[in-house]
Amino acid sequence: MFKPQSMEKVELIIPEHQVVRTTEALAASGVFHPIPSTQITVRTPARGIDEWQAWTADLVALEHRILVVMEELKISEGPPPTQTPHIIEPQVAQRDIERLELEAENPIRELEAAQRRLTQLQKYVSQLAPIADLDADLGSLRDLRYTFVMLGSMPIANVERLENSLEHTPFVLVTLRREGHLATVMLFGLQEDAAVLNRAARSAYLNPLMLPEDYRGTPAQTIAALQAGIERTQQHIAESEREIARLHKMRVRHLRHLLWRVRASRILARTINGYDHLQHTYLVTGWVPAASRAKLEQEIAKVSDKVVVETLKPRMEDIGRIPAALKNPPLVSGFQGLVTTYGQPNYDELDPTPVLALTFPLVFGIMFGDVGHGLLLLLVGLLLISRKIRPLQSVASFGMVIAACGAMAMVFGFLYGSLFGFEDVLKAVWIHPLENITDVLLFTVAVGAVLLSLGMVYSMLNAALAKHWGRLIFNRNGLAGLVFYWSILGIVVNTFGVAVPIPGSVLGILLVVSGSGLTFAEFFEHLVEKHRPLVEGSIGTYVVLAFFELFETLISLLSNTLSYVRMGAFAVAHGALSLVVFIIAEFAGGKGSIGYWIVVILGNLFVIGFEGMIVGIQTLRLEYYEFFSKFFYGGGAPFRPLSLILKSEE
């Protein structure tokens, strides 16, 4: 739990004809992290690398076609499958998708055509509306002997240009209506200029009103006929939509299944394309947690007894590249996201998740101590964990963090005697922060000192794991740093008259010894780790720099410690904010009135939402910048076992 799982580097020799089933088995095992190919590729006439590349390209295109059909039938992708879907060959998938496309094509096309027709008919009505009172047959307007008449719509931006272009031609252009970016216009001119007028109108994007044959008569009659047409088209649209809904219902499972099969096949093809390929075999290397090696072999044995699994000795270039597989119990793993947001732990580094799972709620609870507020957070956290609310499923992983923070806020709520801001309902097990500000601030400084020391202990453990003995002893976050820090704390506490079990003279000696160790840390570290030269650059510069570094260490230790005072300040602020809510509530109608309770409820919600968010950010800040910076380096490679089910980050 405290350290990433021990990893083994394995090499698999897979006979060419078993590569698909073996890759499926590797994915099914869920424990194999493949390493990219080293390009030992030999092209063979059989299914070689080119074919897998072609598979990948074909499957990408097919996936896109499936998504288009799904979109047309209003089918969502749905949740990823729980079991790896079976692989499908592109040719088979293509036949299937062609059938589905064909099936969906007619109703979709009909719907689109009907929608276009509806838009067109509505546009006709809109164009005819301004001349609805005209008592003349529209057909007769087209066949006038001496006058050219064109009714139509055109972009408003082109109207002036059209007028301009006809400068030397007699014409009248009447704008009947403007709607959106289009204008309904009537262009009049001489029939002898029809050719010029037609070309001009066309180039100005004046689309003439071309009513279908069945719409005749006066504008009023035509509008009535068009309205009837609109109704018929709307019925047609409803029918098409019903047909699409039927297809949706009938094909939803099939399409989703096909989509995930194609995706799995695409990932498989891409994975195999990345393998090293010899004449008749594939060479695959990767990492597997040592504890899961047997599981991997078991899965492979299920599909083939010809695959050879060999353990490889990690090489120099593997250092720093070994993936870190974090394994934490469910209560702790919810905090893993907070750790990886800061940095991915290195393989040879302690996993800070367990200690974060302990300290994060503690720090939050100190700042947000209230039984009622904590209870609400706990309930919200548990609701997220239950995944009962679909839109919040994506943030379910934070449920544990919120629940733990809520629980710890409740614990401190009992210690502070605070319930939904009421300080007189519960008896404080410890103190009311608002009445004992100095005690709370000193307490939080003490908590900060403990947390910083814990960070240094973690740093020493990390140095021991990496066998950096010099760093372990002399580093500012190592033994020398820890002794230096506690010596200062002891002396400060002693100065204020608090009894310390260690005599002042001993503390002084410890301070000088650890301080000297820190001052010449680089020299001692090089000495212990047999690194030469012992001192980089000139001795004079080194001494000056060493002195300033000691000074900087002292300042940063003090500022790191004082940074934790904010915990006390927020604990006090939490009480003060609640007090403000009650003062406003009193103004809203006096104790016990409806107005009073409305303000109390809204005020509490505000405190939970607003202050809860600020306290959350401050907690994260203290963890990341004061605590993690003492021991956590990050920059490791995450363990990404092969999976044929598309993950969101792909």
Binding site: A57, A61, H64, R65, V68, E112, R116, S153, P155, A157, N158, E160, R161, L162, N164, S165, L166, E167, H168, T169, G180, H181, L182, V196, R199, A200, R202, S203, A204, Y205, N207
Partner: protein
């Protein structure tokens, strides 16, 4: 006012000047043109600001893919400058950037018309990541639609829809993409003009001088092409051109449309521009007079714009003109670079190349 312009454009100016220094020097341009083969050309390009974009498997670097990779630089420059430029100048830069979106849309429409696959179209597109309306996914969905009308339906959520759906009636009647493309071009330039009009003071002045001149050049060249190559009527030429510009007036367009002497019109707008009459007689004989005329005018206008861009960097630098001028220079560099890449890959002799790009500038 001046102080606020200084504050607003301080970082834009500093960033643009840093980027300006990465434009190809005449020595590099010369070396690129002289590259004996495609491999040497790529090696030369590797050492320039385009180098990081070419760090992919060499086998994949076909001329088309190379041009695509080079355009990645333009995308990053646009995005960087748009991000740091204050409003309303930012809107003008976004509108300028939208030209590539319009071109991508046109490429998609052409792809649908010719039945091209996504792979064939992909690297013809300009890579665009931010400040876009039309995503790569939209274009892919358009190509999958199978017909122009269905493809347009698939971009209903974009402002291009209204323009295209109105013009589609003409496409259906004429079975030609020309009306769709012209509608897009006109709409784009109207937006650009609106972007200039939204600016005030020095910003307006500079944008009008640079972008307005570019709009002028497009307008003038369109009018000439419509008359010389497409033989369109006066009314059509006027309707397919723009009623606004910096120096080009409506009467200039009308004069060209009505068959007036092109050189007279061009000389009236740009008295110092070099035209056919200014070129030695022996050079004049090489190509047909009309093409020669148009090519010369085109080159002269480009030189004029390039000159304007360079001159923008002299004097008060706290205005939108600085990023505009740099971007226009970079666009020109990329246009020519694409030509050089394609010419080199097809082993086109330098003499032929000289008829396509402004070799003297190179």
């Amino acid at each position: 006012m001046v102080r606020s312009a200084v504050t607003a454009y301080a970082s834009v100016n500093a960033t643009t000047r840093a980027l300006y220094s990465t434009l190809l020097t005449p020595e590099v341009r010369h070396a690129l043109i002289q590259s004996p083969n495609f491999d040497v050309l790529l090696t030369q390009l590797d050492k320039t600001v385009y180098g990081p974009y070419l760090k992919i498997n060499r086998e994949l670097l076909t001329p088309r893919r190379t041009a695509f990779q080079l355009r990645l630089h333009l995308a990053h420059v646009y995005e960087k400058l748009i991000r740091i430029t204050p409003e309303p100048g930012q809107q003008l830069l976004i509108q300028l950037w939208r030209l590539y979106e319009v071109n991508n849309l046109k490429a998609a429409l052409r792809g649908i018309e010719t039945g091209a696959s996504w792979d064939e179209v992909l690297h013809l597109l300009s890579p665009m990541f931010h400040y876009i309306i039309l995503t790569t996914d939209d274009i892919q969905r358009m190509l999958a639609a199978g017909s122009i009308v269905r493809a347009i339906e698939r971009i209903r959520h974009t402002p291009y829809y209204d323009t295209l759906i109105h013009a589609v009636a003409r496409y259906e009647a004429e079975k030609n993409l020309f009306p769709l493309e012209v509608a897009l071009d006109l709409d784009y330039r109207r937006g650009l003009w609106q972007g200039i009009e939204n600016l005030t003071g020095m910003d307006h002045e500079q944008a009008l001088r640079l972008v307005g001149t570019e709009i002028d050049a497009d307008n003038l060249l369109w009018a000439i092409r419509y008359r010389v190559y497409h033989h369109l009527s006066v009314q059509e030429i006027i309707n397919y051109t723009l009623p606004f510009g910096y120096q080009v007036r409506d009467e200039d367009i009308r004069a060209i449309a009505e068959g007036g002497d092109i050189i007279t019109v061009v000389k009236r707008v740009y008295p110092r521009i070099e035209t056919l009459e200014d070129v030695p007689a022996q050079t004049r004989e090489e190509i047909s007079p009309q093409r020669r005329q148009l090519a010369l005018i085109e080159r002269a206008l480009h030189r004029h714009i390039t000159d304007l861009c360079y001159r923008t960097f002299i004097g008060n630098p706290f205005h939108i003109g600085i990023p505009l001028a740099y971007i226009m220079l970079l666009e020109r560099e990329l246009q020519d670079l694409t030509t050089v890449v394609e010419a080199n890959a097809s082993q086109l002799p330098i003499e032929r190349l000289a008829s396509i790009i402004d070799i003297e500038w190179w």
